[in-house]
Symmetry: C2
Subunit: 202 residues, 2 copies
Amino acid sequence: MPALTEKRLPGRPREFDRNTALRAAMLVFWRQGYEGASLADLTKAMEISKPTLYAAFKDKEGLLREALRLYLGLHAEDYTAALNRSTVREVAEAWLRLTGGVRKEADVPSGCFLVQGALVGSQASRVIQDELASIRSKGTRQLEQRFLRAKREGDLPGTWEPGPLAQYLSALASGLAVQSSGGVSSEVLNEAVDQVMANWPE
Amino acid sequence: MPALTEKRLPGRPREFDRNTALRAAMLVFWRQGYEGASLADLTKAMEISKPTLYAAFKDKEGLLREALRLYLGLHAEDYTAALNRSTVREVAEAWLRLTGGVRKEADVPSGCFLVQGALVGSQASRVIQDELASIRSKGTRQLEQRFLRAKREGDLPGTWEPGPLAQYLSALASGLAVQSSGGVSSEVLNEAVDQVMANWPE
DNA sequence: TCTATTTTGTACCGCACTGTAAAGACGCTG
DNA sequence: CAGCGTCTTTACAGTGCGGTACAAAATAGA
């Protein structure tokens, strides 16, 4: 655990804000994917030079991993809140709205980092593809855990099973992200979610 | 319209089967995406040299476009059949099963070409990204048309609206493809579809 | 056989890519 | 001020990328 008061290190102080640069990198990875984001794209958005990037983030993969952690940190709260809703129905709706399209900030890319960051690609990026897939499946498991609890508490309608329901919602969320990435507006996606909720079994 | 009987042209005959090579290229694009598939990957799978590829398919983008048409042709029949089912419920289920995981051939990649072929990427591949997104949205529109017809015929349950229902199913199908691409088995995905159908409003 | 036409492999081009070596720039400490 | 430690910049290395020039090889027709 580092000290809260960032102690000034000896040597020349860095001239850029690491967090700002990292955020810029995250947005580029989000928009273009891991392999689609060149170092030229990244350094331009981060407003630093290539050696500076390498000194601060190790290499492209290191930068991606930090950008990913930033992305997850920015959304963790919302998804945790969704899981903590009191009914299965509310959990499902909150989960879908999160991916489907609540655009809080205007300058943010569409879609989901976890989906479009590295869905497929060359063999070289296989590690990243697997990492993102693993995080996605972790989300599915979190949903399943939540629904297992609901089942124990008698909150799960008899027609649903925790595992398949989690898979279903997870897939639908990913799909909404795909549509969003493809240019479908959040209004349209939210209407689709409206329909799902309107037909939710009680 | 070319003649049905391929007349032998003057000059050296090609030593490879164009359709076989194209199919191999399609599989590589499908597995790795447009930008993730290098010419080395492609020529190796197609078992031809680079100049041969360029002579036969113009360039990488031309090859992708032909591979895409082949892919669409291979699946068009199934999707048309799905649209021609007699009830909305059957249309929906057939559509979802198609993407969700009926693995007819074992050597075929997981996921959907239209989703993972070029979901995002560098600016250079923007044209391809847009083309795939456009084809995906065409699928959505076909579903909507089908549901509009169902509404006219009184087959659409009152809680559904053609547009949002089409968006919903389209998103879910894309999401199933994402999950499949991430390693989720077709058995698990089909269970999720089972749940959707079990809770389908009558 | 000769010519026109097409395909094929070798060898190459220019470029963009990720990554780095080296030295100057800068602030802190003594 | 000198010296140390870190950051930044210029310039470059090595590799792989998409794409091609060229000439040999293989056919059809004259």
